[in-house]
């Protein structure tokens, strides 16, 4: 198990290294740097001033030197300085993390609460009208842009109750109720979309397990259908679903990029979009690396969980 984890972490590091090169080069490919953008809004600026700013930001060095600077800083945990805000990147990023994590966690809860039960019902009632309805319902969730769904939810809420949710972010310490409402609405929109994949995996995995001998044995013993399905069958059927939930977590972060924008929540994803439009390289680079680390770690955790939940799966040797 230990060697397995070490191996996986090693592969993860290689992936991260590759990612850093790709992201770094991509951002240098972009037309115009921060200095261009600052100057295009600021009118005429003389060339020597421009050169001075470029030197200060390290943009005058050759690309490979800029890359080495960045990697060196990252290795010692220094995330660099934001060009735009003239603040250490970490100080800007730090308060954004809980917002995004809270939203992602809530969305995942919605997705699981919605996906697993509908998947079970759909499998038990395979090929009935209810099964069709549930499958279309979940496919519809997969087809709607979650940011649009979020807009529609707000519109519906406003026209139904006449109450407009707060436009600016409310801290939990200010007003917990409002704060929760602010997060539940986007979580519903994002979670509904993510529930579709969970629902489909639960359904197909349960359908497979329901054909097993021990399920027949359970029924033959006279156990109620509820015990057979929820206690015996689901326990084994849920394993592949755990993997999907892990993958879904990584997907969620992608979905949040637009949703945070729509709901005006000051999270990582919204900030990434702003930083990209400002060509704020240190912020973009480090945010993308942060997302990559989260994705890789969540995949690793899911694989570990799999080994713990299912004694038949053992790693190593």
């Amino acid at each position: 198990m230990k060697t397995y984890i070490a191996q996986r972490l090693g592969i993860g590091l290689v992936t991260l290294f590759g990612m850093s090169v790709v992201i770094f080069l991509l951002l240098r490919l972009a037309p115009g740097n921060i200095v261009d953008i600052l100057f295009s809004t600021g009118g005429y600026v003389n060339p020597s001033e421009r050169a001075a700013i470029e030197r200060e930001l390290g943009l005058d060095k050759p690309i490979w030197a800029q890359y080495l600077d960045w990697i060196g800083q990252m290795a010692v945990g220094d995330l660099g300085k934001s060009y735009r805000y003239d603040l250490p990147a970490w100080e800007i990023i730090k308060p954004l993390i809980p917002v995004t994590l809270e939203l992602a966690a809530l969305s995942l809860v919605v997705a699981v609460l919605l996906g697993v039960p509908t998947g079970v019902i759909s499998a038990v009632r395979q090929d009935t009208r209810l099964d069709y309805v549930l499958r279309v319902f979940s496919l519809a969730g997969l087809s709607m842009p979650s940011f649009w769904l979020g807009m529609v939810i707000i519109l519906g809420l406003v026209s139904w109750s006449g109450w407009i949710p707060p436009v600016t972010y409310v801290r939990p310490s200010e007003n917990l109720g409002l704060h929760l409402i602010q997060f539940i609405l986007p979580a519903l929109a994002v979670g509904y979309r993510s529930s579709a994949l969970i629902m489909r995996f639960t359904r197909s995995s349960l359908l497979e397990v329901l054909r097993e001998d021990y399920v027949r044995t359970g029924r033959a013993k006279g156990q109620t259908e509820r015990v057979v399905i929820w206690h015996h069958a689901l326990k084994n059927a849920i394993l592949p679903v755990v993997t999907v939930i892990g993958i879904e977590f990584a997907f969620l972060i992608g979905g949040l990029v637009v949703t945070e924008q729509v709901f005006n929540l000051p999270g990582l994803a919204r900030f990434l979009v702003q930083a990209i439009s400002w060509r704020d390289y240190p912020i973009v680079q480090n945010l993308v690396m942060l997302i990559a680390i989260v994705v890789i770690l969540s995949n690793l955790v899911v694989d570990m969980l799999y080994g713990i939940l299912d004694p038949r799966v053992r790693y190593g040797n």
Binding site: I11, V14, T15, L16, G18, M19, V22, I23, L26, L27, L29, A30, P31, Y132, R135, V136, L139, A140, L142, S143, M144, P145, F147, W148, L149, M151, V152, I154, L155, V158, S159, I164, R200, F201, R203, S204, L207, A250, F251, I253, G254, G255, V257, V258, Q261, V262, L272, V273, I276, S277, V284, V288, I291, A292, V295, I296
Partner: protein
């Protein structure tokens, strides 16, 4: 009776073997067996026709602004209302079908073909090449699809071609995975062994004998990716790094300005979103049914 060579009588008794079933027969069978898939196909056909005949279907110039008639309610003159610049929403949605479909199809095709060739070579050659390719694919897959597309799109700058490239890049590793895994099993087939025994060159075997047999998974993959490509285009355009003005794009129609006027003019938000959802829904339905038909191993996944 037992001395008669086996099969002779049976062959005579059998009705003349029909040739390959015609396209009509195949379609009719598909519709009967997969009603949901057929519905998806019908939706896609409708959108394709809308895209082709957008110029005939429009009631107004989709990019002409009309200052006296901004934010008009849906009416006889403006079927789905107008936006904050007075542009006709219906005509914009009709033309948006073109952009969505072109960007969606082009990026799916580009990503699947590139990924497919990488998967084919990586699976066929195997060994170290395969290992290295897999690691590179890991890198591209280490980011959520939308995040990668966002960074690429922002880096390349806004234009229709760049949006296509940005969306196709995250599709590459996904396509490579699928094709590689099916190549791994095809590689061990006897006809591949036979081709090798005949002394055919590797490249010829890979492209002429292995590749055609991955067409099933390839079609399944393409239809599945089309839906997400359309969604990513909508999201990118919404964020302002996608399809640039003046092209009417469904995602762009939903962007900031629409959100601003949403309370006053909900039709600004409702109709473009319905168009996106319908297109993605259609391709998802069709993709599911095609997967069940063409690739029984993946059924229900």
């Amino acid at each position: 009776m037992a001395t008669r060579p086996l099969g002779v009588d049976e062959a005579a008794a059998l009705p003349a073997r029909p040739g390959r079933p015609g396209l009509g027969t195949v379609l009719a069978r598909f519709c009967r067996k997969k009603p949901l898939g057929a519905a998806g196909g019908a939706i896609m056909l409708l959108i394709v026709l809308t895209a082709i005949f957008a110029d005939q279907l429009q009631t107004r110039d989709p990019i002409a602004t009309d200052a006296p008639h901004t934010l008009a309610r849906p009416s006889e003159t403006h079927w789905l209302g107008t936006d904050h610049l007075g542009r006709d929403i219906y005509s914009r949605i009709v033309h948006g079908a073109r952009i969505s479909l072109i960007v969606g199809l082009a990026s799916t095709l580009l990503g699947s073909v590139l990924g497919g060739v990488i998967g084919l070579l990586s699976g066929y050659v195997g060994g170290k090449t395969d290992l290295v390719t897999q690691r590179v694919m890991d890198i591209l897959q280490g980011l959520p699809l939308l995040v990668l597309a966002l960074v690429v799109s922002a880096a390349l700058g806004p234009s229709v071609e760049n949006v296509v490239i940005a969306i196709s890049i995250p599709i590459i590793p996904r396509a490579a995975r699928v094709i590689r895994s099916s190549v791994l099993s095809i590689r061990e087939m006897q006809y591949v062994e036979a081709a090798r025994a005949l002394g055919l060159k590797h490249l010829r075997i890979a492209f002429r004998h292995v590749l055609p047999n991955t067409i099933g998974p390839f079609i399944v993959l393409g239809t599945a990716q089309l839906g997400s490509a359309i969604l990513v285009e909508a999201a990118l355009s919404f964020l302002g790094v996608g399809v640039p003005e003046p092209y009417p794009s469904w995602g762009r129609m939903l962007s900031v300005s629409a959100a601003e006027y949403a309370q006053k003019a909900p039709w600004l938000v409702l109709f473009p979103g319905i168009a996106i959802s319908l297109a993605v829904f259609g391709s998802n339905l069709l993709g599911d049914a095609l997967r069940d038909t063409l690739d029984p191993r993946l059924r229900g996944a």
